[in-house]
């Protein structure tokens, strides 16, 4: 019995819809849900459950109470959405409480998520050929032996028909269905097909299939089943019409023609010589063509008389008719041997049996690929038969085998000899002309065919092949229009040929007419009379478009009996490539297990096929194992004598991916030199090379070799100026080359054209930061956070921006967040350490957490434990080179690059040139390397730390005792908080002791109002003490402080200020509004007491605003400043002051550890009034009406180990002019009294006022400071300076001790001296 495995071939959806459209209008309303139902069933049968669900939902939309839809939706949703499934089930119970679908849905729901429905299992078993298992599952799905759905019934019965005992039941079921709905051709087809499974009903099935062959919907499948039934048919005389009817309907078919020819040429049954009635009846049945009755009769005779030669001969003839040639020959030989008289009667039958037995052996060997055996068997068979009687089809098969065995000349000789016997035989002509075409002898083939009329259908095939060959030659020569013409003519001649259609589609696609090609292929299957041929051609078309699933689906439509070796080879290739696709898909979805499983299946199926290595390599690359991909491809290429350019390009791409640069260059260079690439392959390779050039350029740029980076990019930019990756590389180069504006312009353009690309956004942020466009950078950083780009990179960018804005605490938060994210990423970089299981059960004990923490994430070395743990990494941590200003610098004519456009390392050290008494602008100090600065977190942890500090400062001014002389001793205690997001607070308490000596002698006339009593007063010691307090806050570049002058002084003032110091790249600005004590003298600072009037006076405070601006051109710079102030004090005339200054500076020497700066400074200021004296109304502070100083400052700063030092010297010329002043400015009555006194006592020499003066002279300042880091957080330091000009000399000494609360504090570039008269946070 034939084991049959059949599945329903469903018509495409389009056909269903067309069929629906063709229905009568009155039936449309009813047909619409039916069409939707069919559509849903179609998707279910394809295994596409989601689409099926959608279709069933559309059915419900058309018919809300459709029980079938409710049932299916309950079943289909059971796995993915049990709640929905339950809802559908409830509705179904309400609508159709007796529906068998309820039980089915309940069963599936009980199975829970992931349960496979019995129907799905049934179909899977049926696909795998396990028909009995499938039938059991179907019955489980139905809840009994009867299907509850017509569509499922069809597939069930066809499966059932393939079982040993189920055929009759299937036939009956289908007959009932067919009777109930005679118009349904799908049912009719299934019924007819099942009838052909058994010999007794095969002819009935054939007749039904013939009737269905013209149907638009099922015609193709009916023709395929019809053909198969004819091949199975045990033919008998009279069956010729069956074969002929098929050939007339479906066109030429070699196999069917052969069957028909065999039947026609079959020897007529020999008239038997009956020996008894039973034998005679058997021979009559044989004569009448009733093979089954004859077989039965002869077997019964032989059962009773095994020696009956006649019965054996008769049975031999039966076997001959049944094409069981080996048995036929044995029976006939036995009969003739037993009864030689029969020889002449059965000689022809014997020859025929022998001939066909040998032919079948040849065909079997041919099918098994044993060409040597096949050709020998053909030769023996044909050699034993006179050539004139040889079957042309066998001659052709023999010639084909000879050609495939590499003996085409012998095949040609054989065919030409046969043609001499049968000059116009179409089979032989076709074979010979086909042979000639295959050898490129098209002209000869054409001449041969010219002898036969074009209408001869037998030669259509070879004519088509000839045309395809000519078209192929034209394509190979690049003459595509000629190939198109040939193929179009051929298609008009043979519209049914899928191969011509495929060739033409290929040509059209190469000509860029893809849509025309697609429409040709769409009609391929419908046009092809032979469904298998059409499906195969369609599969090839899908394969060429890399549509592997469609390829497999098309191949599945090819009946098993018609699956050629080429088809099997294509199926394996499509299967492997499709599994690789599925593996990549799973990998992308994060399902590593499924990815591995699918790729492993592909690897196993690919076996040793080298042509599939590239697909597997692609799979390994996608699964994150490019090294294996390279190895796979390398093995494949090594095994090929002439690897294809496509494979070599893919290999080059993989090499690039695994950073095998040298081999990539070698492979791509060889490819270019070979000149064998197509235009598209050249483009693909060039694309890789562009990526490689970008990589080389980035590498050179990172190494500081900008010229080489530009060299790598120059050609690429010229060829592909619009490629985003090229633009981004150029943007990076511009940023590194100190042209951030160009970089920003490029990335802005890129962002406009590709705003969704995270790489472009990252590049834009870098450019904006480098270009100093902080607002833009901030917007893009916020955008990056919102879009979920690389969060670590976004945090780092935000940290850089915050640090640039002086928000170090915020910067630290961002850096820490970035580090945390990167740690998490790095933790995933290495493979997990999987837990071992103890064979006795349970996991092995893990290390205690404390020990795990101790080991951390570091690798524990394997091997024996060494007696001493190796020290820390011997390689010293490399410090970044000195950080200059972002971008390039020109040194000694060489273009080079700074390490990176790094953020400012430390707050600018102030290098005040004090000759001008504190009026110059601070210039930005060069920031040198700072230990630990390489790690921003370490750096910022130290920068945000709070501190406690104690300072002792002594200031000594030479001057007149009791007046301008001053000893100022101050002890300041500071406490600064840790910086947080809201900034930092600091407190300062500052006990102060002032001593100006004693007012005695002539000086009494110049003190207070003592001149009015001609100085007749006791000596007046001048000393004061008190404690000042200050509180300060600072956030970024903004600072605020408020406090008092020392409490305990005769005059106490509130002081404070607001200061903003923004930085724009090389431009530094400072805006300052303040009220500060004037500390020139005891009078101006503390105020003092006038014993004559009993009043206090002095305690001057300066209130006003000042702006500073400095620009650093790297190596040199300029600065200017200007300010305006008012000065007020108790019983002191009010005053105003302006100031203006400017200068240039040049860094004469700059190295990692020291820097020498020289400059030229100009300072000018002036006061409205001269109030520098010590009589009542004066303020005791230097207040010339015009002051000008031109100085040359020289400053050396540096570090040595833990020591920071600075030394400064300044020398210059100064000129000032003072107006004369009354003795008691603003005190007219006192001044009048004095004038009167002087008039009465002219000998007293009372001063009435102060003379004006103009003074020019040389001035200098010398100073030095040092600071030493005692530990990571403790510093001690001090300074000593002398400031000298005509009539003015001041010595200052300061020492301090500072303790930081956190971090590892770096050694600063220069000593950080406390400024006790300013904000503690300045």
């Amino acid at each position: 019995m034939e084991a049959l495995t059949r599945r329903i071939a469903f018509a495409p959806l389009a056909t269903l819809l067309v069929a629906v459209a063709l229905l009568q209008p009155t039936r449309v309303a009813a047909a619409a849900p039916q069409a939707l139902i069919e559509q849903a069933q179609f998707w279910e049968q394809r295994g596409e459950n989601q689409r099926a669900i959608e279709s069933w939902q559309r059915v419900l939309a058309a018919d809300a109470n459709n029980a079938q839809a409710l049932g299916r939706l309950a079943v289909l949703n059971a796995g993915s959405d049990p709640a929905a499934a339950q809802r559908y089930l409830e509705r179904l119970r309400g609508v159709a409480p007796d529906s068998p679908a309820i039980a089915q849905a309940q069963a599936v729901l009980r199975g829970g998520a992931g349960a496979v429905s019995p129907l799905e299992r049934a179909r899977a078993s049926a696909r795998a050929g396990r028909n009995a298992e499938a039938v059991a599952a179907y019955r489980e799905a139905f809840g009994g032996p009867t299907p509850n759905d017509d569509r499922v019934a069809l597939e069930y019965y066809e499966t059932l028909a393939g079982t040993e005992d189920g055929w009759a039941q299937a036939r009956d079921g289908l007959r009932a269905l067919s009777a109930r709905d005679a118009a349904d051709n799908q049912i009719a087809l299934s019924y007819a097909r099942v009838l052909t499974y058994r010999e007794p009903s095969r002819r009935e099935g054939i007749a039904k299939l013939a009737a269905l062959a013209g149907d638009r919907r099922v015609g193709n499948d009916a023709r395929a089943a019809w053909r198969q039934a004819l091949i199975w048919l045990v033919s008998r005389p009279g069956d010729e019409t069956l074969y002929q009817q098929y050939l007339d309907t479906a066109g030429r078919d070699a196999e069917v023609e052969k069957r028909r020819a065999e039947l026609v040429s079959r020897p007529k049954p020999v008239a038997p010589v009956p020996v008894d009635q039973r034998l005679q009846a058997a021979f009559v049945a044989l004569e009448g063509g009733d093979i089954a009755a004859a077989e039965s009769g002869f077997e019964r005779v032989l059962a009773s008389n095994p020696q009956s030669a006649d019965a054996r001969a008769g049975l031999g003839v039966v076997r001959l008719r049944q094409n069981r040639f080996a048995e036929a020959r044995r029976l006939l030989d036995g009969a003739v041997a037993a009864k030689p008289a029969l020889r002449s009667r059965y000689a022809e039958a014997q020859r025929s049996a022998t001939f066909w037995e040998r032919v079948r052996a040849a065909e079997a060997a041919d099918a098994a690929g044993d060409l040597a055996t096949a050709t020998r068997a053909y030769e023996t068979a044909l050699g034993a038969t006179p050539s004139a009687r040889n079957e042309p089809s066998i001659e052709r098969a023999y010639a084909d085998a000879l050609v495939r065995a590499g003996r085409p000349e012998q095949a040609e000789r054989r065919l030409r000899a046969a043609l001499q016997q049968r000059p116009n035989d179409p089979q032989l002509l076709a074979a010979l002309s086909g042979l000639l075409v295959s050898k490129g002898r098209n002209d000869e083939a054409q001449r041969l065919l010219a002898t036969v009329p074009a209408s001869d259908g037998a030669l259509r095939g070879v004519r088509i092949e000839l045309a395809r060959s000519r078209a192929g030659a034209a394509v190979a020569a690049g003459r595509l229009p000629e190939a198109e013409t040939i193929l179009k003519e051929t298609l008009a001649y043979a519209p049914e040929s899928p191969w011509v259609r495929l060739d033409l589609a290929r040509v059209l696609r190469r000509m860029g007419r893809a849509s025309e090609a697609d429409s040709l292929l769409d009609a391929m299957v419908e046009a092809a009379p032979d469904a298998a041929d059409g499906r195969l051609a369609q599969a090839y078309a899908f394969a060429e478009s890399q549509r592997w699933y469609e390829t497999l689906a098309a191949l599945e439509q090819v009946p098993a009996a018609q699956r050629t070796g080429a088809a099997a080879r294509l199926q394996r290739e499509a299967w492997v490539r499709y599994q690789v696709q599925r593996a990549v898909h799973a990998a992308n979805a994060g399902d590593a297990s499924a990815a591995v499983e699918r790729l492993s299946a592909a690897v196993a199926a690919a076996g040793q096929r080298q042509d599939l290595a590239s697909a597997l390599a692609q799979g390994w690359a996608a699964l994150g194992d490019p090294a294996r991909a390279v190895a796979e491809l390398r093995r494949s290429l090594a095994a090929q004598a002439q690897p294809s350019a496509g494979d070599r390009i893919q290999y080059a791409a993989l090499l690039l991916q695994v950073d095998q640069d040298a081999e990539f260059e070698a492979v791509s260079g060889a490819l270019i030199r070979s000149g064998t690439m197509t235009a598209s392959q050249q483009a693909a390779l060039e694309d890789l090379i562009v990526g490689y050039r970008v990589k080389l350029a980035d590498r050179a740029r990172e190494n500081g070799d900008l010229p080489d980076a530009y060299r790598q990019l120059r050609e690429v930019v010229a060829r592909y100026p619009d490629q985003p990756r090229v633009k981004m590389a150029m943007a990076r180069l511009f940023a590194s080359a100190g042209e951030p504006e160009k970089s920003l312009a490029l990335t802005r353009g890129l962002l406009r054209s590709d705003p969704e690309n995270p790489e472009v956004r990252a590049a834009a942020i870098e450019s904006a930061l480098a270009a100093g466009d902080d607002l833009q950078a901030e917007r893009w950083i916020d955008d990056a956070f919102e879009r979920g780009d690389d969060r670590a990179a976004a945090h780092r960018a935000a940290a850089r921006l915050a640090e640039k804005r002086g928000r170090q605490a915020l910067a630290l938060e961002h850096y820490r967040a970035a580090e945390s994210l990167e740690r998490a990423q790095n933790a995933r970089a290495g493979p997990p350490m999987l837990a071992l299981l103890d064979a006795r059960g349970g996991a092995s004990d893990p290390l205690p957490s404390a020990l795990r923490d101790l080991i951390g994430e570091q690798d524990v070395p394997v091997g024996p434990l060494l007696p001493r743990a190796p020290g820390p990494d011997a390689v010293p941590a490399t410090l970044p080179p000195p950080e200059r200003f972002a971008g390039l610098r020109l040194e000694r004519g060489v273009l080079s690059r700074s390490a990176e456009p790094a953020p400012t390392v430390a707050a600018p050290t102030r290098l005040g040139l004090k000759l001008d008494r504190g009026t110059s602008t601070s210039i930005p100090a060069p920031s040198r390397s700072v230990a630990g600065a390489a790690d921003p977190v370490v750096r910022l942890e130290s920068a945000v730390s709070g501190w406690a500090q104690g300072t002792f400062q002594s200031r000594n001014r030479i001057g007149e005792s009791g007046l301008s002389r001053l000893l100022d001793v101050e002890v300041a205690g500071d406490l600064a908080s840790t910086q947080w997001r809201g900034g930092r607070f600091a407190l300062r308490a500052r006990p102060v002791y002032l001593n100006a000596g004693t007012v005695a002698g002539a000086n009494k006339l110049l003190f207070g109002t003592l001149a009015l009593i001609v100085g007749e007063n006791d000596d007046l010691p001048q000393s004061e003490s008190g404690t000042a307090f200050d509180v300060a806050w600072r956030l970024g570049s903004l600072g605020l402080d408020m406090g008092t002058t020392p409490l305990g002084f005769p005059i106490e003032n509130l002081v404070g200020g607001l200061r903003w110091t923004p930085q724009f790249d090389n431009l530094s600005l400072a805006f300052d509004i303040s009220r500060r004590a004037v500390t020139d003298s005891l009078l101006s600072y503390a105020g003092t007491h006038d014993p004559l009037t009993g009043r206090d006076w002095g305690g001057v405070a300066r209130t006003g605003a000042r702006t500073d601006l400095a620009y650093d051109f790297t190596g040199y710079g300029v600065y200017v400043n200007g300010g305006y102030f008012t000065l007020d004090g108790r019983n002191v005339d009010d005053n105003t002051q302006y100031e203006f200054g400017g200068g240039v500076f040049l860094r004469a020497l700059s190295s990692d550890t020291r820097s020498l700066t020289v400059g030229l400074n100009l300072t000018t200021f002036g006061y409205e009034r001269n109030l520098r004296h010590f009589t009542l109304g004066h303020g005791g502070y230097f207040s010339p009406q015009f002051f000008l100083a031109v100085t040359v400052p020289l400053t050396l700063t540096g570090t040595y180990g833990n020591l920071s030092y600075s030394a400064e010297a300044a020398v210059g010329l100064q000129n000032f002019r003072e107006d004369g002043a009354p003795l008691f400015p603003g005190r007219a009555s006192l001044q009048a009294e004095l004038d009167e006194l002087a008039e009465f006592e002219p000998e007293s020499n009372l001063p009435l006022g102060y003379r004006s003066q103009s003074n020019s002279g040389l001035g200098y300042r010398l100073g030095g400071a040092a600071q030493y880091r005692l530990s990571e957080r403790l510093f001690v330091g001090g300074s000593l300076s002398v400031d000298n000009a005509r009539d003015y000399q001041e010595f200052q000494f300061q020492t301090f001790l500072r303790w930081y609360f956190n971090g590892v504090q770096p050694v600063p570039d220069s000593p950080q001296l406390p400024r006790i008269f300013e904000s503690p946070l300045r």
Binding site: R46, G47, E48, Q50, R127, Q546, R547, Y549, L552, E556, R572, W575, Y578, Q579, Q581, R582, V584, A587, N588, G590, D591, A592, S593, A595, V596, E597, L599, S600, A605, Q618, A621, A622, G624, D625, P626, G646, I649, Q650, A653, Q657, S680, A683, A684, L685, D687, L688, R828, P831, P832, L834, A835, L836, L837, D838, A839, R840, A843, V862, G863, P864
Partner: protein
């Protein structure tokens, strides 16, 4: 070479494989004898290929030889055999997640031969014989 000299190393391997408590395996691994551990575990699995514990341990060992995909296949098998075992489930989850991350990190185009994936990827039909 006498028979005894052949038997001793064989017995040693068999002994390790037969007992194979985790501490012994760990000792092998920590002394760098990863290949020996793999051989012993494979020998053990040759005796009983359905032992989820040894499948897990072989997976953990093969990870140390950078055979991640093979290790995951072993863990998949182990998990099918012992779905309730939390250690196997956790190992499998860890390796799957790590592989998924690694796959994501390595997703780079291969030039002109990019795959055009269809929207849905149902299982393929059986491979023809």
């Amino acid at each position: 070479m006498n028979t005894r000299s052949l038997l001793i190393p064989l017995c040693l391997v068999c002994g390790i494989a037969a007992a194979q408590p985790a501490p012994q395996l760990e000792a092998l691994l920590e002394s760098g004898r990863v290949d020996d551990a793999v051989s012993a575990l494979e020998f053990q699995l040759g005796e009983n290929p359905y032992d989820p514990v040894q499948l897990n341990n072989l997976a953990a060992t093969r990870v140390r030889r950078a055979e991640y995909f093979g290790a995951l296949e072993l863990l998949d098998r182990a998990a099918r055999l012992a779905p309730e075992n939390p250690t196997i489930a956790d190992n499998r989850r860890q390796l799957r997640e790590w592989l998924a991350t690694r796959i994501g990190a390595n997703q780079r185009p291969l030039g002109g031969d990019a795959l055009a994936l269809p929207a849905g990827l149902p299982p393929p039909p059986p491979l023809w014989e």
